[in-house]
């Protein structure tokens, strides 16, 4: 099983900036890229609209989801995972996050903005009630 997901510094900044701008609402998006042996390598971060527009819930806009998936396919990428923010809670899947995690193959990244100035990004795999943390590797630079 894949346990490492690689993002560039730029990808992390995109996620962080977007989530901070959307706060206090939860923000969300998708990660597209390639799988090299047992490492997921993110190529693009897709910033999606949280149609709930709410600090305590998120639902991705299906239209934007389809558009992102098609863009990935055009580029020869796969859906590697998704991200969402926890503006006021720690970086771990909530009960509802787990209940609504239907795809055991994708990574669920959670950015906690709970502590000001100390954003925490973690990645998880969720299979029913079993949550396992993945290693995030941040590589310098990136487009």
């Amino acid at each position: 099983m894949i346990v490492i997901i690689k993002l560039t510094q730029r990808h992390c900044e995109q996620i962080l900036n977007y989530c901070q701008n959307e706060a206090p609402n939860e923000a969300c998006g998708l990660l597209g890229g390639i799988i090299d042996e047992d490492v997921k390598i993110v190529k693009k971060v897709y910033l999606l609209t949280n149609v709930d527009q709410c600090p305590e819930h998120f639902s991705m806009d299906p239209q934007e989801q389809f558009a992102a998936i098609k863009d990935m396919r055009t580029n020869g990428w796969f859906l590697l995972g998704n991200f969402h923010s926890h503006p006021k809670s720690p970086s771990r899947p909530s009960e509802e996050d787990k209940r609504l995690a239907f795809d055991p193959e994708v990574s669920y990244l959670i950015l906690s903005l709970m502590e000001e100035g100390y954003p925490i990004l973690k990645s998880f795999r969720i299979q029913k009630d079993t949550v396992s943390e993945e290693t995030i590797k941040i590589i310098a630079g990136g487009a």
């Binding site: 998708l30 989801q65 909530s94």
Partner: protein
Amino acid sequence: MQIKVNGKDLVLEKELSVKELIDEQRIEAPEYVTVQLNEEFVDKNDFSSIIIKDGDSIEFLYFMGGGRI
């Protein structure tokens, strides 16, 4: 007949409804699946009545969301 499911070719022996294809593909938690048929969203109420035809392209996508609690 040949269709595309999530961008991949699939050969079907006969025409199926969206619901029948969901069952055949063993999609878990179908109540959380959004469907596009030839780029158009399909209403859940029409899953049984809409028939997939030769050359159609169908996309299944899980709802992605969560909550704080």
